[in-house]
Amino acid sequence: MTEATQTDGARVNRLRAGLKRRYAREQRFRAYGLLAIAVAVGFLLLLLGRIVEQGHTAFYSHAMTAPVYMDPPRIDRAYPQGTNFEQLVAEQQLRRLGIVDDAQGTKASAMRGLFSSELKFIAAERIARQPGLVGQTVTLSAPLSDDADLYLKGEISKDTPAEQRRLSDEQIAWIDRMDAGGQIAARFNTGLFTRGDSTEPELAGVLGAVIGSALMLLVTALIAIPLGVGAAVYLEEFAPRNRLTDLIEVNINNLAAVPSIIYGLLGLALFINWMHLPRASPLVGGLVLALMALPTIIIATRSSLKAVPPSIREAALAMGASKTQTVFQHTLPLAMPGVMTGAIISMAHALGETAPLLLIGMVSFVPGLPHSLVEPTGALPSLVYIWENASERAFHERTAAAILVLLAFMIVMNAAAIVLRRRFERRW
């Protein structure tokens, strides 16, 4: 009996020691998990923080408001756009600051450099609308040039040697004086969201690229989703299992892993060189992205069709439903949440895809807003690429702003995916 108790005691001790080890392992594993999540969240915050830090200044810009005497001899009433309003305003601003220009007018041209070229169009438009304003003093409000704006945002410092910055000491002094005089105010940069691309950073906006991307995604969705879902339904529910369908399946899986630049080359060769579709257009972009999204959509749809319990198929078939009725009335509706999620995630991927767009010419500079599917447009990711490579420093903050817009676009799409998923989700 004592022997039995002893072995029991030893057994319990062994179990206890083992238990301790098991719990310790579990604790360690949890710690690793937490660490991994902390690292991931840290990187994410670092990335977002960097982008926000760089980009937040792009969301406001500085404008100058000044009274301008519309000097009649210098304004052509028939063609107000022909007037050199910048010179007019610059001279009047200099006079207001009590500065006498030299014979070459260098000070006036330095002053002119502080205004955006938009000033001319704002003034001309006022005159065109109200020709009676000529000869009167009008209060004009116009954006400052990108360099003046950067100085006011603190991006250009007075401590930098004058020859290394784009604003002279004189110009900086003028800006300070105008600012002190209450002529300069910061305001929300609506132009960023309402304009197309421009060579002037202070006039450049993302709307052209947003519309371009949206048109492109529309084409992609209209082509890739019906084709992908149809192909997946056929392969999963109707196709016989044989060597040919196996081959197709392997190839679809391989296509999903093909680098996107290859799709760009294919699109270039197929749609532009052979079918002569207009290059850099949302139509071609959408077609290329649709090719790219197809395998992903097919794979996602097939796996969600596979996840539908066979009992539902059997129930429908046993009720005398035909194969097509079973698929379209039962299997596919039940697979819908997965199909939707797969489709929207592949759309989000397509939205952020840059490499194929570069090859079909979407990297070119396209000012203004797109109006149709067949004219050249920009796209958000290529806009980011273009702006990042621009030499003007003011484009750098706008690059970050464009990235933020791209991210917001994606968050909206993913939120839509979640909402759709919730709506279609059913229990069984």
Binding site: S311, R313, E314, A315, L317, M319, R426, R427
Partner: protein
């Protein structure tokens, strides 16, 4: 205190706890408010359920032959699952197919509505006639055949739609109802015949998957009879249910026998004895013995049948 909730709990965990699963007394549903009394009556009813009823229908009327199977063999790829089964199944009778797991009884059941067609590489040989017509003939459309031969599966499998939609689905796809009112009537009649109407009349448009297991199985039966089939195949319809829900289904099967030819696969000897008038014993893919249920259970001709029904194997 138990309230009638929108979603009844799963009925398989305990019998009397779920009032909706309790046997109806004479087709009458007990008022939900009077929960205490209900529980009492349930408790009184419980011992009835598992006890093998002394052969309810045994020796009952046996109709003309409805289905006639001759030398039916089934192959799944290279593997033969069923060997030369010849069996006559009479109308307006419950025929039980019994036998150990993997003996081919479900496979045989599925040949009768050609559900094996849906399995790739499955091949059926031999001849199955329903009312003298070969159901495997090219001229017979499996879709139409399945409208005549309903099927109830082991696991309740209502569609994830409303109770109403579940029952209305068959009549709708087969175009049996010409108006909304007619469809409503079919749904009501089917649910009544399945003994579910009183329990769900006030929530026809709530999901069928929210019912308890036993209710779901009766819903599936209602769905099957909504298309007025001639034959109902049941593949272990009670194996996922608790004894009380089982008792209700068995009671229902006995009622349905008056109108339909019923074939039921079961693992429960007691159930076969309770509900069927004819029994066929399968073993290793072969039909060993068939006859009146009473004879099979009291006086089997084959040694293997005796061993199986007395629990010596299987």
């Amino acid at each position: 205190m138990k309230f009638k909730l929108f979603r009844a709990p799963e009925g398989r965990n305990g019998g009397p706890a779920d009032p909706t699963d309790a046997p109806r007394m004479g087709g009458q549903v007990l008022p939900a408010a009077d929960a205490a009394a209900e529980r009492q009556r349930d408790a009184a009813a419980t011992p009835l359920a598992p006890a093998p009823k002394p052969a309810v229908g045994a020796g009952g009327p046996v109709g003309a032959t409805k289905i006639c199977a001759r030398d039916v063999s089934v192959f799944y790829g290279d593997k033969q699952a069923l060997y030369d089964v010849s069996l006559d199944i009479p109308d307006k009778t419950v025929t039980a197919l019994i036998g150990p797991s993997g003996c081919g009884k479900s496979t045989f059941l599925r040949t009768m509505n050609r559900m094996n067609d849906t399995i790739p590489h499955a091949r059926v040989t031999g001849r199955i006639e329903m009312d003298g017509e070969d159901i495997n003939a090219k001229s017979v459309d499996p879709v139409l055949l399945r409208a005549r031969v309903g099927m109830v599966f082991q696991k309740p499998n209502p569609f994830p739609k409303s109770i109403y939609e579940n029952v209305a689905y068959g009549p709708r796809i087969h175009g049996l109802a010409t108006s909304k009112g007619e469809l409503d009537d079919i749904v009501q009649a089917s649910l009544k015949r399945a003994g579910l109407w009183e329990e769900v009349a006030d929530r026809l448009h709530s999901p069928g998957t929210g019912l308890s297991g036993g209710q779901q199985q009766r819903l599936v039966i209602a769905r099957a009879i909504a298309v007025e089939p001639e034959v109902i195949l049941m593949d272990e319809p009670c194996s996922a249910l608790d004894p009380i829900a089982t008792a209700k289904i068995e009671e229902l099967i006995d009622e349905l026998r008056e109108r339909y030819c019923i074939v039921i696969v079961t693992h429960s000897m007691a159930q076969a004895a309770r509900v069927s008038q004819r029994t066929a014993f399968f073993h290793l893919g072969r039909l060993v013995e068939t006859g009146d249920t009473e004879d099979i259970f009291t006086n089997p001709r084959e040694r293997r049948t005796l061993d199986y029904i007395t629990g010596r194997f299987g």
